[in-house]
Amino acid sequence: MTEAGRPPETGSPLRTRLRRRARRSNLGARAGPLIALLGLAGAVSIGHPLFLSAYGLNTLASAASVIMLLAAGQFLPISIGSIDLSMGALTAFGTVLLALWLPHLGPLAVPAMLIAIAAAGLLNGLIIVAFQMPSFIATVGTLGLWSGVSLVVSSASAVSVTGGYRVIAWLNGNIDRVPVSFLFAIVVMTVLGGVLTLTPVGRLALYAVGLAEPAAQMSGVRVAIVKVLCFAAAGLFSGLTALVLVAQDISGDPTSANSLLLPSIAAVVVGGNAITGGTGGMSRVLIGALIITVVQNGIGVMGINPFYEQIVYGVILVAAAGLTLDRSAIGVLK
């Protein structure tokens, strides 16, 4: 009926221009974290010029790889409106397992550890889905579980890699002065980014569950499977992080869990991904991870007491969450 009333092609250039402008303004909002990153890096390098030297950047990049991998994994539960508090504990457990297994299993130790840690992540997902439990309760429980198990199997001390280190030594090398671990993290994040933008599950189901679970359910999305997959993937990413850590430290550390969890969540949120889920992507996670790394290294090179690190993470986390939070997604605050 109104076919004739529609403006033909004349209207479309204007519309594309409007759309482009809208996209640009969206970019403006996204630029906040990027500006923060550059500002922080600038500030640290003024106080400590060597920070931006080739050596400084190399250190920064290899430290960044750990937080990048953790944050990329943490993004998945967060994107569906959940959270995985056990990632730090799983990573620590992974480092212990790998350090213990490398001398005996050789190359097989790597897939064995990855499968074991991914299975622990899968367990998180199954508990949450089967018992309809809030993820922060379930994963606080498994956090305790796996921290304890790591302490038991390692006798509560660092486990040196006594053999088979050659298998993972490549991860601690450099290609053209760029740390291989950093390149590894970039490749892994690119793959995950591809899944999030190019596949139906990543681009549609995941975000739909995060934004409106009932609507996703009623559209035939297999919500339970999406959830379990997210936690299993978060487990896998804990395993990958453990791989990098063992390569860098030549040992497994059962007590490293605490120092890993907070930065991983802070990185996701500070990059501009809402803690309530349904938004964001890998580019934001990357920027967030880099911000956290700069803060971490900045505190180190400027000779500030490292105890301040956790204080800074905590403040950043609360501030960034407050800025990005989708309050309509939280019914009653408790």
Partner: protein, 506 residues
């Protein structure tokens, strides 16, 4: 004529793209029961929420006893002597009736932080007696029936207003919607008692009740006040015509485009379907091209049957067949895979994913149509979505618009498109598809339903009104207390009367 206690002048309220209230002006007098009638989406609930301080108007004035007021919350409305009894109950279930009535207003019934139970009981009794209620103030609230709890709720509002020492103004939002006829009589008795002490605004979409209990009636349609009548001097049919904007017989259900369905091919058939406590022995068939309306009051089991077909609720006994093949979908995802689609009544919660754009919402149920070898094919996706936007005349015609920026009618079209673009869709369940839509959008949705039937889909309709059920369907199945209580053919010329269906419902 007695004095005006509450006046509303040119009150206007817009939601995203719809006008909920458009310059509504009305007055409530002392010791009067004022009826407010209108279809779903006519604005009566919005008006009530504004008067109760829940929603703020865009423009217009509210005068309470001649004083202009601006409510910034429920507490302000209460302070002005306006109390609201909500459709959904708001009592705390695990404390006593007396505690609920005095909750937050304990005053002298609390000393040194402790309840003075004697005082508490006394004060609650006063409020209960005022309404002539025989409810023990010391009973646990959850032990009361739904109707009793509603009475307590009224007593609570009354108690609150007694404290103010002004004649209370009490707003009742669809208080009868889930009551049985005997309970309705009791409620009406109470409303008449309330009239002795104050004034009452009574909202309902059931004309008979409103005529019964009100002194004066305002009719709302599409956010406008279209008429004011003394109840004694008005007839049911006149009000009805005012309410829906046409005479009862006239059709806006596109009767001319109804085709007979193919009686030889049942697409979906239920045979003795039962689920404990919800429904039992439900049987019917829907054929290709047939629209079957399933109607009944709240709690009759219609909604449950519909959700069972979609795999959202389990069933225990009986058979469900899709094109002759036995099925029992264990989840919505299973049902979708089998070719069943569902347009939920809760459009904003279960229908669309807010925060996602139109294009993503459309392919959510079957991303495969826009994918190739497991990856999204953006060109195919774009063409597909553009095609459906044009075919369903979705506005704004922008695939990238956040779906929540669309009006209700356009959101519903996106939900419909989500199912229509599936290649294997056989059955479409429509759960109140026109709820909350304005008349224009309603007719468009009705036209669309006709077209779906013409294309050979089997359509199950849970209608908003009996009128809609009769107008749109080929056959009507009525349920009461979990059982099928009536079956009617609704072919042109042999349509059942509204009264016949109501008889089966109650």
């Amino acid at each position: 004529m007695s004095e005006t206690v509450l006046a509303v002048e040119r009150l206007t309220k817009h939601f995203v793209e719809t006008v909920a209230l458009d310059e509504v002006t009305l007055a409530l007098r002392a010791h009067e029961v004022l009826g407010l009638v209108g279809e779903n989406g006519s604005g009566k609930s919005t008006l009530l929420k504004i008067l109760g301080g829940v929603v703020r108007p865009d423009s217009g004035r509210i005068l309470v006893r001649g004083q202009a007021v601006q409510f910034s919350g429920v507490a302000d409305a209460i302070a002005s002597g306006i109390g609201m009894v909500y459709q959904e109950q708001s009592l705390v279930p695990n404390i006593t009736v007396a505690e609920n009535i005095l909750l937050g207003q304990e005053g002298s019934a609390v000393r040194w932080g402790w309840y003075n139970w004697k005082q508490l009981r006394q004060q609650a009794s006063i409020a209960l007696h005022q309404l002539g209620l025989d409810i023990d103030p010391m009973a646990r609230t959850e032990s009361l029936s739904f109707a009793e709890r509603q009475m307590v709720e009224i007593a609570k509002v009354l108690f609150l207003e007694n404290r103010r020492h002004v004649a209370p103004i009490i707003l009742l939002d669809e208080p009868t919607s889930v009551l049985e006829s005997k309970e309705i009589d009791t409620l009406f008795g109470q409303i008449r008692r309330l009239r002795e002490v104050g004034s009452v605004v009574f909202v309902s979409h059931r004309l008979g009740e409103v005529l019964d209990v009100s002194d004066r009636i305002y009719v709302l349609r599409n956010g406008r006040c279209v008429g004011e009548r003394e109840a004694k001097q008005s007839r049911h049919d006149d009000l009805y015509e005012m309410m829906i904007g046409r005479s009862p017989g006239q059709s806006y259900y596109h009767e001319e485009s109804r085709l007979p369905f193919d009686e030889g091919r049942p697409v979906l058939s239920l045979d003795g379907l039962s689920a404990r406590k919800r429904y039992s022995d439900v049987s019917f068939e829907i054929h290709a091209g047939e629209v079957l309306a399933l109607t009944g009051l709240i709690g009759s089991g219609c909604e449950s049957v519909c959700r069972t077909i979609f795999g959202a609720e389990p069933f225990e006994r009986g058979l469900m067949r899709l094109e002759g093949v036995k099925i029992s979908p264990g989840s919505p995802a299973d049902a979708v895979a089998m070719g069943i689609g569902y347009v939920p009544a809760e459009r904003r919660i279960e229908g669309v994913v807010g925060g996602m754009n139109v294009a993503a919402n459309m392919i959510l149920a079957d991303p495969g149509v826009a994918a190739r070898r497991g990856l999204l094919d953006f060109r195919r996706w774009r063409t597909l979505v553009a095609g459906w936007i044009e075919r369903l005349r979705i506005k704004p015609a922008s695939p990238r618009a956040d779906v929540t920026a669309l009006s209700g009618g356009n959101q519903q079209k996106v939900v419909l498109a989500k199912w229509l673009l599936r290649s294997n869709l056989k059955v479409l369940l429509l759960d109140h598809p026109a709820r909350g839509l304005d008349v224009g959008a309603k007719t468009e949705v009705y036209a669309l339903i006709r077209r779906l039937a013409q294309q050979g889909l089997a359509v199950l309709l849970l209608a908003d009104s009996i009128d809609e059920a009769i107008g749109l369907s080929h056959s009507v199945v009525v349920m009461r207390d979990g059982l099928v209580s009536g079956r009617f053919s609704a072919s042109p010329g042999r349509k059942p009367l509204e009264a016949e269906i109501i008889k089966c419902m109650t």
